[in-house]
Subunit: 264 residues, 2 copies
Amino acid sequence: MNDNRPIGVFDSGVGGLTVAKEIKRLLPHENIIYFGDTKHLPYGDKSKETITKFTTKITKFLIKENCKAVVVACNTATSNSIEEIRKAAKDTLLIDVISPVAKKVAYELHQKIGVIATKATVNSHAYQKYIRKYNRHLKVIELATPLLVPIIEEGFRNTPVSRHAIESYLSYKKFEDIDTIILGCTHYPLIEKEVNSVFQGRVKVVDSPLIVVNQLIHEMEKNNLLGNTPDPEYHFYLSDYTENFAKLAKQFFGKSIILEQKRL
Amino acid sequence: MNDNRPIGVFDSGVGGLTVAKEIKRLLPHENIIYFGDTKHLPYGDKSKETITKFTTKITKFLIKENCKAVVVACNTATSNSIEEIRKAAKDTLLIDVISPVAKKVAYELHQKIGVIATKATVNSHAYQKYIRKYNRHLKVIELATPLLVPIIEEGFRNTPVSRHAIESYLSYKKFEDIDTIILGCTHYPLIEKEVNSVFQGRVKVVDSPLIVVNQLIHEMEKNNLLGNTPDPEYHFYLSDYTENFAKLAKQFFGKSIILEQKRL
């Protein structure tokens, strides 16, 4: 028995594409519906109420589109609104981007973990709380890096602009002796190479999309939700069309994707 | 007869401070109430409806605070919502940041004018429309430079980050032969020196805050609204407290200012 309903994925913008791309790689026979709330990005500076309003609306939309699972591919949404999103998702399988990563990291050998994320995620201290739930001896240092999402959304990756901003953030005094860093925003894997080049191999960068998608696969297997579509469809809804999104989505998913503007 | 009621000024964040500072310089005996809607910045990526909702609320608040004049120190608000703001302001003197600049520029000797602004301002083509109203022979090239507001709000002025972003934007092909540039966002005078250093004196940068405040003075004189407070009060309301705002406000207005968080 196979379940060929789509997997729903959402984020404020292109960030969640790093998770969606990993889903495509590890689950190549699944249809995917992606919602990018580009009209309201960045989420990272918004209030909990506002984030909850948009993300529960998107979740309801994805369920109406018949999704068999929903991946909250946004750290800000997870850290601020996961309970409300869970309610909106009702019985549908829901995967978030923080708890699988926190659990995995907590059981590995680390001394001191750095987390870079949006203001809203850092203010919620979600990583600290989740990681300490599993291992209360770990040191977790969280740093808000609010310019990185605009830099990525506006297409300034791999330029002197991104390089200097990343260098400036990562020179944070309390990061001096970290051995591991979590990119606590789904946008940030897009600048993983640049982060790595600042640390020059000294610090391990956690592969969050891989961990999240492994968790998704595990839960889908358990619930008999795996599909076997030979030629899956990748459908992208955007609350506001942006060139940068279209470009990146095509780069990750090929040119035959469906891109559609959708009022939220 | 003097009128010592305050002048109201508002913007999404620190940008309007460039106008408020000019008011303080040219009208040193006026009380000022400033509203910075830092919770909802940046306005530049938002829809017209959203911008209108926030800016009319702020205008009503300033009028309730007994302001004798309101300066819309935000290009995005002016270009998207000025009619609705005018209604909200009722009979109170209202000054916007685009029409005085467009009028002044239209009557001077220029061949080709560049405008850098937020996406929302560029999409409205407000500068093109206003300038051509006075002089339909002028060439006006508008360019959205959306990373500049986050760069300024996050404290990255005068760093390699701002320098590279500005260089990248200003290398826009259609800007090659402009003789004048309008900084079409009240944040941008904060990077005026950096813009100048890219053009190396080849292009005239329009001093928008000066033009706007001259218009304000002219209208205040006409309407007998000038004040003579010997020791004026500078009161700043913020919808969300940010370090960067506090720092810049103190730098411009001294340490005795009043800073207050205010729910919008």
